[in-house]
Point group: C2
Chain length 299, copies 2
């Protein structure tokens, strides 16, 4: 074969998914370990890659799609380091330190950029020039890919902290974000929904109204993404998006908010082909991590 091997990590707030893959994408070994503290989780990660290396050969590069905030600027001296995360013990932890022993190049990006990259490469974003992947779950965040490379400024984006217009008569809930109260994450994340209604969105009383309300906030984010990035397609994933009727509500309300201002065939048919569900389901993150590993190879 001679094909190079990639160590791929999807680092989430509750679990790490680890895989050894060929650069073609075939996964040779795979496991998951709980996210506790770096000393424990990083050790388990190293052990998996040690064993996988013993069985399959040396790792040529690592690709990591991680929760954050984390430094994803390859030019930064702190590249790969968790910054101000509230998760106990993780601020200052660095993937490059944990994996230095393997002597392989490491590419680190955010979980949502990784998912965007995975969906762009082999999921619902194939063929897009610019693709936005948003997760509506425990948190809210958006990753953007253009021509196969994730986008960033001096840091990764933080779309979940945009404040949407509100109608307090309709939704008096004050919001749950410790920084902004009623930003998108404070109003429409899973924890905000549970806090407001004591149930998940698919089990709340008066479900149609609740879906329409949460849909209005997500539609605002969708419209902001259109106006500030003009993606070829928007993917919305994450646990909250499983609520029946939600994606249709987002399409309908986003179209209403844009009000015909953006004229483009991509947006025809009620945004049916423009705002879509993920194609890879739970595999978007690890697929993106493998792709990041491929980019670390310079391939």
């Amino acid at each position: 074969m001679g094909e190079k091997l990639i160590g791929a990590v999807e680092a989430g707030g509750t679990k790490f998914i680890l895989a050894l893959a060929r650069s073609s994408g075939d996964i040779l070994a795979r496991t998951r370990v709980p996210t506790t503290v770096p000393a424990v989780t990083f050790a388990a990660m190293r052990e998996f890659f040690d064993q996988a290396t013993g069985a399959h050969g040396p790792i040529a590069s690592f690709g990591i799609a991680s929760f954050g905030p984390i430094d994803i600027d390859p030019a930064s001296s702190a590249y790969g380091t968790f910054t101000t995360t509230p998760k106990p013990g993780w601020s200052g932890a660095r993937f490059h330190d944990a994996l230095a022993g393997f002597g392989a190049p490491i590419t680190v990006d955010t979980d949502v950029n990784g998912a965007a990259l995975g969906e762009w490469h082999s999921g619902a974003g194939q063929g897009c020039g610019t693709l936005a992947y948003t997760t509506i779950g425990t948190g809210i965040g958006t990753g953007l890919v253009r021509d196969g490379r994730s986008l960033m400024g001096f840091s990764h984006y933080e779309s979940g902290h945009i404040r949407p217009p509100r109608d307090l008569a309709r939704d008096p809930y004050p919001g749950k974000c410790p920084f902004h109260a009623d930003c998108l994450e404070g109003l429409a994340s899973g924890p905000a929904i549970a806090d407001r209604w004591g149930a998940s969105l698919d089990q709340v009383d008066n479900r149609e109204d609740a879906v329409e309300l949460i849909g209005s906030y997500i539609a605002h984010l969708a419209a902001a993404l259109v106006l500030l990035h003009m993606p070829d397609r928007l993917i919305f994933g994450g646990g909250v998006m499983h609520a029946p009727g939600l994606i249709a509500s987002v399409r309908r309300q986003c179209e209403r908010q844009l009000a015909g201002y953006i004229v483009d065939p991509r947006l025809d048919d009620g945004l049916e082909r423009y705002i879509v569900a993920p194609g890879l389901g739970d595999d978007a993150g690890i697929t993106g991590a493998i792709e990041l590993g491929r980019q670390a190879l310079g391939e």
Copy 2:
């Protein structure tokens, strides 16, 4: 000398600024013509470049920073064509048709991308990796440059049509945008200010309150740009920004809205070095157009 000559056009809704420049940026000839209808304005543009060419030599490339909406995708068959502009006669007009006789490559971008590029090259955005330039004037729009190239998705951005949160008790004005009523352009553009108060922002009664209100909307746009692009700096220009106290109000309210969530030295000192006025004043557009011409040369 042997330096190549660039034909530069800053195409605005009321006037075209035309220049013949060396690729070093030195301007050899310059004029302005009113924006009426394409047959007249394009003819005057051609005549200027004909005369300039006669006096100084052939044009090696054109750089155009234009009002829109306009197709700025170099891969599109309609590149350089005005699309759905409400300006009578301009939909379908194309710079490449108007300038074909010169046989030189043409780069077309938006007015705000041109201004961003000019400020990045030789104004208040020098040294930035990612730079956002926003104009608050007759319209509201933002151009973004990363490493000297303007950013776009399937089309140019439309930041002016984001809808900010509102307090209707404080500002009952319904908004002036024909598409969205109370989007940013509908609330905070020069025409919206004139319509709401019958005066420009520096001459309105109760000026401090008015500046704070308009500043709150612009601060929302600034925060959205931070959260969705993480620029190294935000420049705010355009006629409305001349109102005394406005930029300080935008800094103060943007900082309050971000609420300490983005921790970075760029944002220290009350955003004093982060949200700034243009460095080139009225010359940003034509400077950017010259830079676009340089890019058309492949230099």
